[in-house]
Structures are given as structure tokens and as C-alpha cells.
Symmetry: C4
Amino acid sequence: MLETLKEQVCQANLDLVSAGLVTLTWGNVSGLSDDRRHVVIKPSGVAYDAMRPEHMVVVDLKSGERVEGDLKPSSDTATHLLLYRAWPGVGGITHTHSPKATAFAQARRELPCYGTTHADHFSGTVPVARALTQEEIETAYEANTGHVILERFEGLDPIAIPAVLVASHAPFAWGKSAAESVKNAIALEACAAMAIDSLTLSPSLGPVEDYLLQKHYNRKHGPGAYYGQGKPH
Amino acid sequence: MLETLKEQVCQANLDLVSAGLVTLTWGNVSGLSDDRRHVVIKPSGVAYDAMRPEHMVVVDLKSGERVEGDLKPSSDTATHLLLYRAWPGVGGITHTHSPKATAFAQARRELPCYGTTHADHFSGTVPVARALTQEEIETAYEANTGHVILERFEGLDPIAIPAVLVASHAPFAWGKSAAESVKNAIALEACAAMAIDSLTLSPSLGPVEDYLLQKHYNRKHGPGAYYGQGKPH
Amino acid sequence: MLETLKEQVCQANLDLVSAGLVTLTWGNVSGLSDDRRHVVIKPSGVAYDAMRPEHMVVVDLKSGERVEGDLKPSSDTATHLLLYRAWPGVGGITHTHSPKATAFAQARRELPCYGTTHADHFSGTVPVARALTQEEIETAYEANTGHVILERFEGLDPIAIPAVLVASHAPFAWGKSAAESVKNAIALEACAAMAIDSLTLSPSLGPVEDYLLQKHYNRKHGPGAYYGQGKPH
Amino acid sequence: MLETLKEQVCQANLDLVSAGLVTLTWGNVSGLSDDRRHVVIKPSGVAYDAMRPEHMVVVDLKSGERVEGDLKPSSDTATHLLLYRAWPGVGGITHTHSPKATAFAQARRELPCYGTTHADHFSGTVPVARALTQEEIETAYEANTGHVILERFEGLDPIAIPAVLVASHAPFAWGKSAAESVKNAIALEACAAMAIDSLTLSPSLGPVEDYLLQKHYNRKHGPGAYYGQGKPH
């Protein structure tokens, strides 16, 4: 079942490696079926060099049960499921430990918009989800990681700000599809890298003016978007 | 039309990728025809791995209208056109979000000449073009990006200083040809990277003496240039 | 003798290069035979591009004598032997001068757990072994390097914290096998890189809460580990 | 003439590229003939991807005249010649603008020995040659670059410290052969990179104890050297 989605999710996982965002097996991408009933996700702790579409694991969105695949799904599956259930527009999720975004997550610093590169992908500050309590960690850790992300996005639009930094952990990014979530993970890492250098050059740097942020974001994503070839992205 | 220029511009865009200056589709190179009537430029938001010369878009320099090509030209085309119209010696323009130069642009810090690497390519400080006003952003944003670059170069020689950092945005570089503009973009990124480390090692570092700057610049670019094999560069 | 182990150790040395942890010939990996009587180790100062399993050197664990191989074993062999003799659970050792971990070793700063990436591999701070005295350096330098590592691990579990930073020198990492020791060396380098950036963003950053550290470490390594496919790692 | 040396020098130039030390055409390697009468050096400003042994230029050590080759020799040839004439043990010279070593040169900070990686290649601090005066720059610039290097090495042993940082410019490294000079250039860049991070972690870091420095240097280079396979390096 879901052969096309398995191919897309497998490719998205490999694209994450090509983009240099993965060390060892740290990272996983999932995609949601069109009927929003099943999630296809990378198997847990499997090496990338032999990964093929048939290794992808199919999980039922509602129950969280594996419905196809011989391998165990990513240990972060519960986090992915919670976000899909809560956010209608999201069809793909990427989790990485990409180094510069993770540095922000470890420092528990949010990532403000310091320039148009950021504004092209994120319509505002990429927020930090709070550290989990001891109880949250010891019971249903991965689901609770999803809960603190949802808690942090109360009042925020996850479509407009498609990434989060989980405190003391690492980033999650998402998008309309698995491929889009990988692009947002790549953009996040690039923006985090630039931000560290910008802060070295100007330690008290503040975010860009809101009108510049909105202009660039809407150039690519708004109703009058004119970047690209008009294909859905 | 302009088949050779299309090949050169396509190759220049791919060279930008090989040099590691491009993330996702952030970056575009254009070239001007010998009669200075047409600009050949990368299509907007197209992936690099399948890019071929026939995808390049031909735009009329004066009117800004597309005269050949099925794809939309880069969303930054208006910026390119303004610079070509204003600067007679320029035949190629490169726009990137290369990380270290963009860090300077985001920090709104100009890039002084800290050594001979810089002096080999830029005859002085690479300046910062001011941030656009809200009105400039909301009306004809890309053209106004060109205007603030031209405003910043009043009294400066764009041939001698073939790059600029647009505040809160990213760098533009240029040269006699598309290929030369890519070389200057590569040099700018390398100089910005070195400058960040030099400033870490010596926070109050000032620019090199002007006679060292002039010597190195003229060794490569002056009337008595003796670097290279005497071929036009 | 030990053909399979030679292949594994050779491959582990090459994996170290693929992972970008090696400059020139700086780095060596060894593996212990199942009966814990022989160590297979990289030859000293040999280029990686022509390295094959038959170049690996077999050394007697007890006596330290070479028992097979035409080439001299790594100059760091004595350090490897001491650790194998002292630590029953260790079957592979990796020594590198990987840049970010070496920066910590040179600064003589231990590497605390700043996030889950670290906790996935190291159950606490990666410690610094003290600088050797002049006498220790001038007599049996490499063996004494092993002695200061063992001294530093008194009261620590080398299986739970499979790496050390030797002051003014560089890291050593270890694991159940040569391959596992390389993974730990890669994880150490990634954590050190992230730590430098995290400290730039938050200079007074402290380690994560112990319950988060334990959760992540045990998710991968504890008796109830549920990361990966349940294969031995 | 000198076909073997041309091959070695060409290969050494290409190795510099593989090692990631070259941007654009910034960098050149030369080698001295066994009779110390001729220098084989890279042509000036030529792209690396089509470089072959027959492009190498042969220059007379004494007169500095080109005696074979259609292309102009590197613009830095005069610097190379001065060092060969002054230093009997040197048979190869590498000049790069490698980013981290150049950052030290631009900051005019010498590179102390912060660990064994440095000590394995350089028997002490890598010094900074002073900035040239205006007159020195305007008359025989490249020869005067050689002169300030020689001036800085008065009382120092260039065999034991095979590299220098020229103020506001970039590094030169050397060795017994072209290949050895490239290795020293690679080691210098790696040590400079580590030093920047070590200083970030410990801003007041001082050099290692002299007995550690001497031990490591002599392990590889002293009369009782025991690193490697005993082949000349």
C-alpha cells in the first residue's frame, strides 16, 4: 500500500543526507497519506546507505499501530503523529539534529528573523518549545515532545512558521509534503548558521522590520506569490 | 537567440552550486548580450540538477519584458536590470545568499579589506546598501533593491568594487561577464568567512594599509597587471 | 589469522575518513579478538587511500609484541593496549584529532551534556584526562597516556561514557567493537561542534537535567532500550 | 627536462585542491631540482581542473629566468626563489590563502602550539612575518615578501618550523619536497582551525609545555623518530 508515498518518504530521508543535515542515523522524515489516515515513516536506527522504499513503515494515524512493514518505525513516531493529528495543513514532518539549529535548541534561544533568507521560509521567529518536566519525560516521552510543541504553537500558525526548536533537544520542521518539510529543515539549518555569525558580528542584532519579513514571506507563500514557476510547492 | 550566452549563464549558475554558495534554489546569475540589449537570466525557483541552457530566460534590457523562454525569469530580475542599465562595464551579475557574506549583510556591517585576498578582488571596503523603507518594499521591491545599490555606489567605482551587501538581505556581485561575477561572489564569500575569524582573533582589527590594497588590486586588475596569463579575465 | 577482524578494523579506519574526522594520517582504530588475546590495529603513518585489511597489524594484548604484519603498528598502540586490559566490555578503540573535540582537549575543558544528541551516546560529561608530567612524557609516553585515561575513569563507567579528551592532545573513543568506537568518535565530534556554537549563543549554559540525560541514554542503551531494530549495536 | 619533478609539483598542486585549501586559483606549489639549480612551479592564475605536468614552468634558481614552459610562472615565484636560496634543507614550498591560517595572518597573530597536533609538525610557534613598508611593496613586492620571511626566521630553524604567516596576507609552508610542503600547509590549516575554537573555549589559553612539544615533534622528526614506517618523509 502507499507505494508512491513510500518512495517520496524514502527519497526525502535520503535528501536529508545529501543536504548534509544527518550524522550517523540522527534524523527521520515522515509523510501523511492523502486521506490523512496513514503515516509513512523511516524505520528506527537504520543506516541510510541501504535504505529503500520497501523499508518504510506504515503507521495508522489514529491508533499509532504499525499496519505494514517488517521494521520498527522511528522512535520519534509518536511526536510525528501528534502534530499530524493537530495540524490539518501539514503533510510531511522532518526531525534532525542538524548542528546549527540544534545549537540554538540546546541554548534554548529562539531564532528571530535576521534577514530575507529566513523570511522566505518562516513568517516570524522560530520558537523554542519548553523543556519537558521529569514526569513528562518519564511517561510517554515522545508523545509529550509533541504536546510541548503544540503548546508552544497555541496562537501561532504552523503553516506560516513550519519549524520549532525543542529545548535541549533539536529541531522539527514540517510542510505540505515530506519533500517540503525537508526543504524547511534545510532552510532552518542555513538560517541558524547565518544567525550565529550575524550575532558574532553584531551581538545585539534585532529582527528585521515586519514589513520586510511579510514582503519576502508573501513573495513566496502569499496569495499573490510570484516566486518560482507557479507550481504548488 | 543568444545560444552561447545561454550556455555561459547556465554554466555560471551551475558553477555557483559547485562552489558551495547555493542552498536550495537561493541564487541566480545573469549575463548581458554583447550589444547590451538583452539579459539572459536563470528561471525563478527552478532546481539546479536538471537545469539546461534552454531553460534560461531572455529579457529585454530596456523594457524588462521576457522575449524568449517558457519559464518566468528570476524574481530578482528587476534588480539585475537596473544595475546593467546604470553600469556600462558590467556584463554579468550574481546574487546569492552565501552564508558568510549574508551574515555580514544581516549584521549590516560593511566588509573592510583585511588582507591581500580581499585586495586581489575588491579595491576597498565592500559596502552595505541601506535597508529599504516600508514604501520602497511595498512598491516595486526588486527595482528598489537596485536603486539602493546604485545610491550606495554614488562616488564609488562598481568595476573596482564588484560587490555589495544589501542590508538584512544578502550579497550581489558582478563583473565583465557572468563567469566573472561568479568568481567575485566566490571571492566575497571567502573574504567574509576569513573576516569573521580574523575579527574573532582581533576584535578591533582595522583595514590594511592603502598601499598594500592598491598593490594587490593592481597586480591583478591595473594597467600593469602581471597576475595570470594575460588573457582577459 | 583474524581475517574477519582485520577487515572490520580496516573498514573502521576508512569509515573514520569518510566521516571527515581524519586529516592526513591522524587517526587510528583498533579491534580486540573475541578471546581478548590479540589486538588488530592500523599501521603507523600509512596513507588511507591504499589501505587494505592485510596491512593491519596483529599485536599480542598481554606482551604488546607484534605477532603478525610487516608494518609497524600505530605509535599509539601502547595506549590502546592499556585500555583493553583494564576495561572488559571494550572491544574497539578509536583515536582521532577530529577538530572540534580536539579544540576541547586543547582548551582542557570537559564536554558536558548540552542536549539529547550527547545523551544518546554519552551518559554524562565527557571528561578531560590530565596533562602528563614531564617524567611521564619522557618515559613510556603512550603507555602513560593510557594511565592518565584510566586514572580519570576511576569511579566512572567507560561503557556508559565511551570517550575521553586527553589534555593538550586529542580524543579517544571506544565501544564494543571497532565499528562502535568509530560511531562514538563521530558522535563526540558532532557534540563538540554543537557545544561550541551553543556556548557562543549562551556562554553560561549548564548541562541538561539528569532525568533527560538518563531517558535518552537508556532509550538507546538501557535494558529497556527501544531505539533501533533491537540488533546489537 | 625535470619530467619527474614536474609530475610531483603538478600532483602537489592538485593535492592542495583535494585537501580543500584552495579557492579559485589562490595557491601555488613549487619544487626544487635535486641539484638545486631549477625550480618547477605552477603557472600563474591557471585553473586547476585542466592542469597537467607539462604546464609547469621551469625557472632558474639563480637568475629567476624562465628556462622552460609556455606559461608565465606564478606571480609569487620571486618569494619561492628567495627561500630556496637561503634555506639548504628546503626542497618544496606551498603558498595558500587557506581560510583559517589566513585569518591568523590577517589578524597578525602568531600561532602558538596549543596541542600535540601542532607539535607533530611544528617545533614551536608559527611566527608572523611583519607587514611590508610602502617602499618594500612598491619595489619588488614578491621578493620583499621573501625578505621579511627570512628576516623573521633569523635565529629560527626553518626545518623545525616549516611555515610562516605573512602579516595581512596569508601563509607559506615548506618541506623537503613539494609533497611535504603541502602536508605542512594542510597541518597548518588544521592547527589554525583548532586554535580559533580552542581560543573561543579558553580565551587566555597558553602554549603547551615545552617537554610535550619536544616529545611529539621528535616522535615524528627527531633522530629517534618512531612514528610511521621509517621511510623518509
